[in-house]
């Protein structure tokens, strides 16, 4: 063993006594890492994913080590979420918890260690998605915020603000129909998927609006031309990278 702690419990010597109740999990806002974390938020059809992928390509071309993490993509958890959605097993509470489990795995496995290593981490949806959706499903506002207390605070959180009608038009153009949980069909708001989507996403928009001052979200007008939105995003990101030149990876 190499060392002795001198602590004995019955006949056993404890080699490294644990200290229960001493927390080493830091809370939102307390993290200081060399890396940078940029996240995009907004309702479906706001164009946030398009913008993030353009930013990704630009950062790579500049020589930064960039890593992308998507909502609901943990290899450990996503099968459970898929099962819950497919068989419609999820209640507002378990919907909230399984998504936080997925997020925790991505935080512990990739987001946090990569930020420590100095990477630029890009997230398509972050904790604010959970705050908006779970509260719209009737979960307690405070409880959900506390649930995600272990999250790393982003360097910048972009919120792509779009009117509901614009988002619906974009979604209808792109594909047919709305998904069950995405439209909030589990809430029994309306039998018609589009009607339900309208009510549910409307509630989500309200929650996002309240979060702009609460979490200092950076608002991007998502009705502007794509190029213009991207230019705004890049100029904001640039200022955050200026003092972090060591992030550059040699090509």
């Amino acid at each position: 063993m190499g060392f002795s702690s001198g602590v004995r419990i019955g006949p056993f010597e404890v080699f490294a006594p644990l200290q229960p109740a001493v927390s080493s999990v830091r809370q939102y806002g307390e993290h200081q890492f060399p890396g940078r974390l940029f996240v995009v938020e907004g309702i479906d059809g706001s164009g946030k994913s398009t913008q993030l992928s353009l930013l990704h390509k630009w950062l790579e071309s500049k020589g930064y080590g960039v890593v992308f993490s998507e909502w609901n993509s943990s290899p450990l958890v996503k099968d459970t979420t898929k099962l819950g959605k497919k068989k419609k097993l999820l209640t507002p509470a378990t919907f909230s918890l399984i998504h936080s489990t997925d997020f925790a795995d991505r935080t512990e496995r990739s987001i946090l260690p990569l930020l420590k290593a100095g990477a630029v981490v890009l997230c398509d949806r972050y904790i604010y998605t959970a705050f908006a959706r779970d509260v719209a499903r009737g979960m307690d506002r405070e409880w959900v915020r506390e649930l995600y207390g272990f999250a790393v605070q982003p360097t910048v959180a972009f919120y792509f603000r779009v009117p509901l009608e614009t988002a619906i038009r974009r979604l209808l153009d792109a594909r047919d129909g709305f998904k069950f949980y995405e439209a909030g069909m589990d809430l029994g708001l309306s039998d018609d998927p589009e009607g339900s989507f309208r009510i549910f996403q409307g509630r989500i928009l309200e929650e996002y609006e309240k979060m702009i001052p609460e979490f200092n979200l950076t608002v991007i007008d998502a009705t502007l031309p794509i190029e213009l939105q991207q230019a705004q995003m890049r100029s904001i990101v640039k200022t955050q990278l200026a003092c972090a030149t060591e992030l550059r990876v040699q090509p």
Partner: protein, 288 residues
């Protein structure tokens, strides 16, 4: 009157939960499962309907947790939340419907095991408590306690070492025996702390399992008697007319709540009011 630990799940009405929630807690290897297997038929013989549940038995997350534990890359926050998902799924789909139907729910571990495990892994105690605010306060928590010197041989000689029971995620590189002793000792210390905070009834688990069971039975009987006496006394003091009036009042009260609730909240689609507790999952699986 039933209460939660601080937060109410959407759509839940506490006065509806007439059954009894009895928790058997304790570290690995203290004989919790043995006791539940003895208590259940005994309660049923007396005419009580019983549902038993335990960790990772949820339809939603049980399989996912088992798979995640096969690879040894389950982080501590993820682990805590995965187990919390499993717990809430069973709470909403087994425990609550059973209590609503007047069953006795025997649960092998409850939130306290999850709390102890998370705290030993260095999670923030405030965070853990807030997570489990949605849990119902049980009617009784029996804490089967075994000192570390008795616990080690019992576990090790009966089923050998398990990676997670030995806390190997906390002590990579150490052998399982050393790790097991340290981990279980820390858990025990945490359980003892929780026992004070949550007022567990501690039961010495070093005795023969029959003796332990005898002790549990007498405590449970007292709990059930107390309850029936209370109901009886209420009826007595109110008189038959009073009982009717009370019933009517309760009814209009709950109806009021229902209207408010329906406007805001969503009753989980999986629990129809007529669900037979415990069979919900089976019926669901048959449908697939």
């Amino acid at each position: 009157m039933r209460e939660t630990y601080g937060k109410l799940l959407p759509g839940l009405r506490l006065p509806d939960l007439a059954g009894k929630l009895i928790v058997i807690e304790g570290t690995d290897g203290v004989g919790r499962t043995t006791q539940i297997n003895l208590l259940k038929p005994w309660l049923e013989e007396m005419g009580h309907a019983v549902v038993d549940t335990g960790m990772t038995r949820s339809l939603l997350a049980g399989e996912g947790i088992r798979r995640a534990k096969e690879g040894n890359s389950l982080g501590r926050v993820t682990q805590t939340l995965f187990y919390a998902t499993d717990f809430v799924d069973r709470l909403e789909n087994e425990i609550i419907p059973a209590l609503r139907a007047g069953f006795i729910v025997l649960t092998d571990r409850y939130i306290y095991s999850l709390m102890a495990r998370a705290m030993v892994r260095g999670m923030d105690p405030g965070w853990i408590r807030s997570l489990f605010q949605v849990a119902l306060q049980p009617d009784a928590v029996f804490y089967l306690r075994l000192g570390i010197e008795r616990l080690v041989p019992r576990v090790v000689f009966s089923r050998g070492f398990d990676y997670w029971e030995s806390g190997m995620d906390l002590f990579p590189g150490h052998d399982m025996y050393d790790s097991f002793c340290s981990y279980q000792a820390a858990l025990l210390a945490e359980f003892d702390r929780l026992s004070e905070e949550y007022k567990f009834e501690t039961v010495d688990a070093s005795a023969e399992s029959k003796a332990v069971c005898g002790h549990l039975k007498s405590r449970i009987l007292r709990l059930l008697e107390e309850d029936s006496r209370k109901t009886f006394l209420t009826k007595l003091s109110l008189g038959p007319a009073g009982v009717e009036a009370r019933k009517a009042a309760d009814k209009s009260h709950s109806q009021e709540h229902r209207e408010v609730d329906d406007a805001l909240v969503l009753v989980p689609a999986r629990i129809p009011a007529h669900t037979v507790p415990g069979n919900g999952h089976a019926a669901l699986q048959q449908k697939q």
